[in-house]
């Protein structure tokens, strides 16, 4: 079948301002949907970055604890030897963990504070600048340092103690928390903890799940693979902010639906005379539906492209700043938004389609 005259597209964009406003309005709503989703995905990716970058396959914690965020875990250090003796265990590194406010004269930032043994698992994957913490020293995430107005050599209060900044790491802050690292013994001294760790990070030479089972059997502690620990962390945070996210997303979809519906209805209404002429000339239901649905497809399709481009643009701009907010536009999210947009566009076409179907072709004779 050959090409037909693109009446829908021509109708939509013949009044360019209205057509572009429709696309822009829809794109704004979709941008909100995509941006909220991208911020969420970015936050999820970032929130487990510390866990995901650890050179350990298992996280051993107090029974029932499978998270860092908002969790409290105590593991006796005396279990370290027992775990090291389990076949398949390569290394065991204790860490202490707390959520605490870091303070300087310039500001305060809620952070994960991690006590670790330099040179072993539990520390930052890579230092951006400076050195690992010595006694009385702290390593900060760059974003955290910036929000505190602190640089190398400056002092920061944490865990009720004053620390000197010895190094900076990158990309470990997330939307809720900064990140800071001190030596394990300094952390223990600051919190007056003896013979205990929060978690043990275990490197394995075998299938991690088998080793985890053996650790649990030998110690009664909870041993979780890094992937499962990371997933549990994401699930917890997702549960905490999921409702807000869903409300925002639903509101954005409602706005998008309203804009698309209004645009299509206005475009159809302004062309009722033309549609009446088409009916008089012999346009059947299929041809008229094609006109309305083409308008919907163009509005929604152009809006998806514009919204995706803007989301990518905003996320790359954000990445150039030290903002703890990161955006990750996942291909799956884009496909999902595009698919829902098709449904929204189709639903928004119903009122114009009804209007068109009820139009009397003989109305073209009326003046």
């Amino acid at each position: 079948m050959g090409a037909r005259v693109a009446v829908g597209r021509r109708n939509l964009f013949s009044e360019r301002r209205r057509g572009l406003l429709g696309v822009a309005g829809t794109a704004a709503a979709l941008l909100l949907v995509l941006a909220v989703g991208a911020v969420f995905d970015g936050a999820m990716r970032q929130i487990t970055r510390y866990i995901d970058t650890q050179p350990a396959q298992l996280f051993v914690s107090q029974p029932g604890v499978r998270n860092l965020h908002m969790a409290s875990s105590f593991v006796p250090l005396e279990d370290v030897e027992a775990i090291e003796a389990i076949p398949g265990v390569g290394s065991v590194a204790p860490i202490l963990f707390a959520q605490d406010g870091l303070e300087t004269d310039a500001g305060r930032r809620l952070s994960y504070v991690i006590g670790y043994v330099p040179g072993r698992a539990g520390g930052p994957a890579e230092l951006q600048t400076g050195t690992e913490p010595g006694s009385g020293e702290i390593v900060l995430d760059e974003s955290t340092a910036e929000s505190l107005g602190a640089g190398l050599g400056d002092r920061v209060d944490a865990l009720g103690t004053s620390w000197r900044v010895s190094g900076l790491v990158s990309e470990l802050s997330n939307i809720a928390n900064g990140a800071a690292f001190v030596r394990l013994e300094d952390f223990a001294a600051a919190r007056e903890l003896r013979g205990t760790a929060s978690y043990l990070l275990v490197g394995t030479g075998r299938e991690p799940r088998e080793v985890a089972t053996a650790i649990e059997r030998a110690t009664g502690l909870e041993a979780t693979t890094r992937e499962a620990f990371s997933a549990s962390e994401r699930e917890l945070v997702s549960d905490m902010i999921g409702d807000v996210l869903r409300i925002l997303t639903a509101a954005a979809w409602l706005v998008g639906f309203a804009v698309v519906a209004l645009t299509l209805y206005a475009a159809t209404r302004s062309r009722l005379r033309d549609i009446g002429v088409m009916k008089a000339l012999g346009a059947g239901r299929g041809a008229l539906s094609r006109v309305v649905l083409t308008q919907a497809a163009w509005t929604v399709g152009a809006a998806v492209v514009v919204a995706a481009a803007l989301t990518v643009g905003v996320s790359s701009l954000l990445a150039r700043t030290s903002s703890p907010v990161t955006m990750a536009l996942e291909p799956g999210a884009l496909v999902r938004v595009a698919a829902i947009s098709v449904v929204v566009g189709t639903a928004a076409s119903i009122a114009p389609l009804v209007k068109v179907s009820r139009l009397d072709p003989a109305s073209v004779f009326r003046r």
Binding site: G2, R4, V5, S14, G282, A362, V364, F365
Partner: protein, 279 residues
């Protein structure tokens, strides 16, 4: 060879019910042969448009039947009527009714698309028709850039696009000046003669009598004899001799569509053609 392109028998159309019932068309019989131009005149509200809508398969009659090109319209299901209209009729409207978002060529091509012709063949057919009507230089223009005469020629090209048996024209010269109106009238005549098409024109314009094979007068939904009609010397409208304002002088009588026309005439009769008088 077809003997009749359009046949209407006992055509009636009633709107509303009870006290508000209106019989817009009452028992109209009409036969139009191929190649014939039939002009239907009548005052506003006489039922011309309703009749045209029924003849054009846009409105079902309350009673009676319409046969077009041998097909009884009543035998066609509602969803078959659009395709029938697209292939068997060409429509020409007073307001041209070109789609303002489409170019001249696309307006004609659209009519072809609606009848099933698409792609290059439709585009080429549209261009040939438009060139034949002297619009070869206007193919890519939007309707707003055209004069009234050009718009009506585009509308005629669109009406001819699917080589229909019947052209229905609603006041085709009403929005055109005298010269262009005359050109359009001659064009409609040529279309009927050369294409062996039936052309049914509904109009107030008495100039169209010149190109019509038959002139019918519709009033109160019924055809009346033209011998009972006179022409208003001021506005040129055909008027019924009874029950209309008139003016008598020197043993002659003139008939008018309104008292305004009569008063204008009475103020200075010599300004107007007096040939419409009845002795």
């Amino acid at each position: 060879m077809r003997t009749l392109a359009v046949r209407a028998e006992g055509l009636e159309r009633v709107f509303g019910e009870g006290d508000v019932q209106v019989r817009a068309v009452r028992g109209v019989d009409l036969e139009v042969r191929p190649g014939e131009v039939v002009l239907i005149m009548g005052p506003s509200g006489s039922g011309k448009t309703t009749l045209l809508s029924m003849l054009g398969a846009m409105l079902r009659p309350s009673a009676g039947r319409v046969e077009v090109d041998g097909v009884d319209l009543a035998s066609l299901a509602e969803n078959k009527l659009p395709a029938f209209r697209a292939r068997r009729f060409g429509f020409v409207f007073q307001d041209f009714n070109l789609l303002s978002a489409l170019t001249v060529r696309e307006n004609v091509e659209l009519a072809l698309n609606l009848a099933g012709a698409t792609g290059r063949s439709a585009r080429e057919r549209a261009e040939v028709l438009l060139r034949d009507l002297g619009l070869g230089e206007r193919l890519g223009f939007l309707p707003e850039k055209l004069s009234g005469g050009e718009k009506q020629r585009v509308a005629i090209a669109r009406a001819l696009a699917n080589d229909p048996a019947v052209i229905l024209a609603d006041e085709p010269t009403a929005n055109l000046d005298s010269k262009i109106g005359h050109e359009i009238a001659r064009l409609l005549r040529r279309i009927a003669s050369e294409g062996d098409r039936s052309v049914v024109i509904v109009s107030h314009d008495t100039r169209l009598k010149d190109i019509a094979d038959r002139v019918l007068w519709l009033e109160d939904g019924e055809f009346r004899s033209m011998s009972e009609m006179a022409t208003d010397p001021v506005c040129g409208m055909a008027v019924e001799r009874e029950a209309t304002p008139h003016y008598a002088r020197d043993g002659r009588t003139w008939f008018f569509c309104s008292t305004a026309c009569r008063d204008e005439f009475a103020a200075d009769p010599h300004r107007f053609s007096v040939s419409a008088a009845v002795a």
